[in-house]
Structure formats: C-alpha cells, structure tokens
Amino acid sequence: MKSKLSFSDLINFITQETGASKKLVYDLIKELAAIIEEGLIRDGNVSIAGLGSFKLEFVGSNIRKLPQSENYREISEHKKVLFRPEKSLREFINRKYAALRPIIVDEPKKNVIVKDISQNKIEKTNDKVIEKKIKIAAESIPVINKEEQANKENRVPVIIPISNNVEKKTTDLKKFVDKKLGDQSNNTKVYYAVGVVILLLILSFFLFRNKPEIEYSQTPQLIEASTESGDNLTQKPENRDLNILPQTNNIASHKIERGDNLWALATKYYGNPYLWPNIYRANESIMKNPDVLIEGHELSIPSLEGDSKNLSENDNYNIALGYLKAYLKYKELGKTKASLYLWAAKKFDQSIVQKYRETLQKRDLKLWAHTEKEELRIN
C-alpha cells in the first residue's frame, strides 16, 4: 500500500541504509535540494546520476475554464519543473515486469469477413444476383446425415458440421461468392487491359497509315515541274507524257476576294462546282492548300474545250489531274479525305491513275477497288 514518508522518516530510513549520522544526512539532503534549485534557476537543467534529471520547461500564457463554473481564468506564462527519471531507475523499479513483453492481440477474423460481405460488398455492389447466388448455393448444400458424415470424415478431413445452423453455411458460401467476385474484378481488369491494347493498335495503325505521306509529298514536285513544261502538249491523250500538262487557255483571271472558294469559282465560271480541281491545277504554284485562298491573289481560270456537261478527253484529263494533285496535297497535309480525291480522279480519267500507280499509295488504290468491282457487276 502507498504511504507517505515524512522528512524525518526519510532521514531515519536513509541513516539506517547508509550508516551515516542523521545530521550529515539532513544537511546533505537540504543542501542537495538547495543546489538543485540553484542549478534550475541558473542553467535550467540539473542531472544527478542514479536518479534522473530536473528540467525547467516554459509554458506560455493560456486561458482555462474553471471546473464546475462558467468562469475562465487566464494563466500567465511560467516555468514548469519536470523530472525525468534515469533509465537505470526505471529499470530498477520495473524489474518485476521486466519479463513481460507486449502481446499481439488477435481479433476474431470470421466476424469481420461476415460484416464485410453483409454490409460492404452487398450494399455497395447492390447486386441482387449475388444474393440469389448465395441463396441458391445455400439450398444446394446437401444435408449430410451423421452416418454419412462419419463415413466421409475418413475421406475428407474438413466437413461443415450439420449441427451448425444455416447461418454458418451461408457465411462460408458468402466467402466463396466473395472469392468469385474477386475473380470477376480481376477479369474486368484483364478486359480493361485488352481494351487499352486494342486502342493502342488502332492508333498505331492510323499513325503508320499516315507515315507514307512524307514519301508521297515529293510527287507534287514532279507535277509542278510538269506545269512549267506545259508547252510540250500533245493533243492525243495516248501520247501524253506523264509530266506534261495539256495546254489550256485561260478564260479569265480572278482576284480573290473575301469569302471566295474554289467550289464557288467553279460554279461561277464552269457552272459545275465539281470542276474546281481544274482551277487548283492551274494555280497550284500559288496555293499551298486547296481549301485556303489568300485575299488579293490573282487566280487564272483555265478554259474548257467542251461544255461543263459534255467534257472533252483533255478536259477530263485536266480535271483528273487536278483531283490527283488535290489528293497529293491533302496527303501531304495529312487529311483523311485525300483518298476521296483519288477516287474522283479515277472517275474522270482512269488512265491517269494507272500512269501514276507506282507513285500512289497502294492502300488508297485498294480502298476503291471493291467499289469499282461492284460498279462493274451492276453494269
């Protein structure tokens, strides 16, 4: 039991222990207390071997509520005397507990799993199918007789005891379903991964598809060169050189105004907007993009040999060439609609595509092959 030792009792005890005189012990303890006090005031820290260290700690001013009343009291800043016992002293006092060590407390895991299933899994997923599965599985469990159980015990060491109530069975089944759910979640992850891979493949397909544009971007230069040597025109299309353009007379020159486009110009001068590549072909050196016209530039509008409804062979060739140039330009610009112009070029003049077949992209040529076959069938 705890009891308080008075100072005289303490001195008596110490004199018995040490064998020194009472006066000496008294004086020493008094002086010791005085020295600690002085040391605290002077240094703020006094350490005594075998006992511990005394330390002064600064406490700032604060307001505290007085207990059992609504009044507050301000506590001014002050210093607090702290005592930190030495490790040897702590070990000496705690020697009876020295053998004891902290023990890990195991919690019952079964309850936790049941809670997880009943509250979290089912509530969160809100899936009625799971509950149905549990019910069906619970019903499908065969009720084993004691004799059967005894027979089976030899084969299978772990059997769900029949005496247990249905709840236990359902909990085990819930665990099973939970595992299944976990597998499903893994499967979904796999599906996601497969989806991402497919997307990447599609992207790479488009990238590789657009790559050859760089190769084909050189071809317009050839055609440009051909535009310069347009004087060497031969009238018969069979004898035409690939790089030689048919000569055409310009019917007019048009100064580009705000809101103009090739489609509109073709309708204005030819009466057929689909003949716009003829204008583009003649002005390719000025235009960097068939879709963009720069205000103030002058466009030369080449004349047609025939009518817009009855085009001559040369007209068809010119327009086909215009479509081909548009195709090449759009390829250079990386536009997906480029292959449409190749198809249009084919429509106007099949021979031009065959002549340029080597320089054209095989993929684009193949793209319209099936439509041609269908047309042949129809015809």
Binding site: L5, F7, A33, I35, G39, N45, G50, I93, P102, V105
Partner: protein
C-alpha cells in the same frame, strides 16, 4: 549542472572531501531508489515529493504492424515540485529580468 558539479558544491558547503560526499550521495540516492521502489512517497520540505505511479496493462494499437497489442503494466517514478520551489523558479526568472 551535472553530478560532478553537485558533488563539488556539496563538498564546499559541508566542508567534507569530495570522495566522502560522493560515496554518501550515492548511498542516499540508493536509499531514494528503494523508497520509490516500495511505492512510498518521499517528500523533502520546500523542495518537492518523489513518488511512483503504477500504470495498469492496457490495449494499444501498433501502427507499424497494424495490430492491437496488450502492453504490460509498469511503474513510473515521478517528482512533484513544491509550491515554494515553483515560486522560486519563476520569481528567480523575474528577478533576472
């Protein structure tokens, strides 16, 4: 202030050799330890009281291993300064200022 300085000051004030003071101080501290071990409160007038606090075993959560643990009981030696010492410590500071 460390133990050597305390012994030096004690020998000066008690007019005793340091060796004697040192051995006596060690024996006194040993007696103090025994008093604290017995669970008794030992008070020194105008200075304070030495006592020991018994802590019961308790459940605690170890964040390192993320498990609950039962900690064993232990005894903590403590010191409660007297009001006189508290005042002196704080007044001494004021006088310095």
């Amino acid at each position: 202030m460390n133990t050597a300085e305390v012994i030096r000051l004690l020998s000066q004030r008690l007019n005793k050799p340091q060796k004697e003071v040192k051995s006596l101080l060690e024996r006194i501290i040993e007696a103090f330890r025994k008093v604290l071990d017995s669970g008794k409160r030992a008070s020194i007038p105008k200075f304070g009281t030495f006592y020991s606090i018994e802590r019961k075993s308790r459940l605690s959560f170890n964040p390192g291993i993320k498990k609950k643990m039962e900690l064993p009981p232990k005894v903590i030696p403590a010191f409660r300064p007297s009001a006189i010492l508290k005042n002196k410590v704080n007044s001494g500071d004021e006088n310095e200022e």
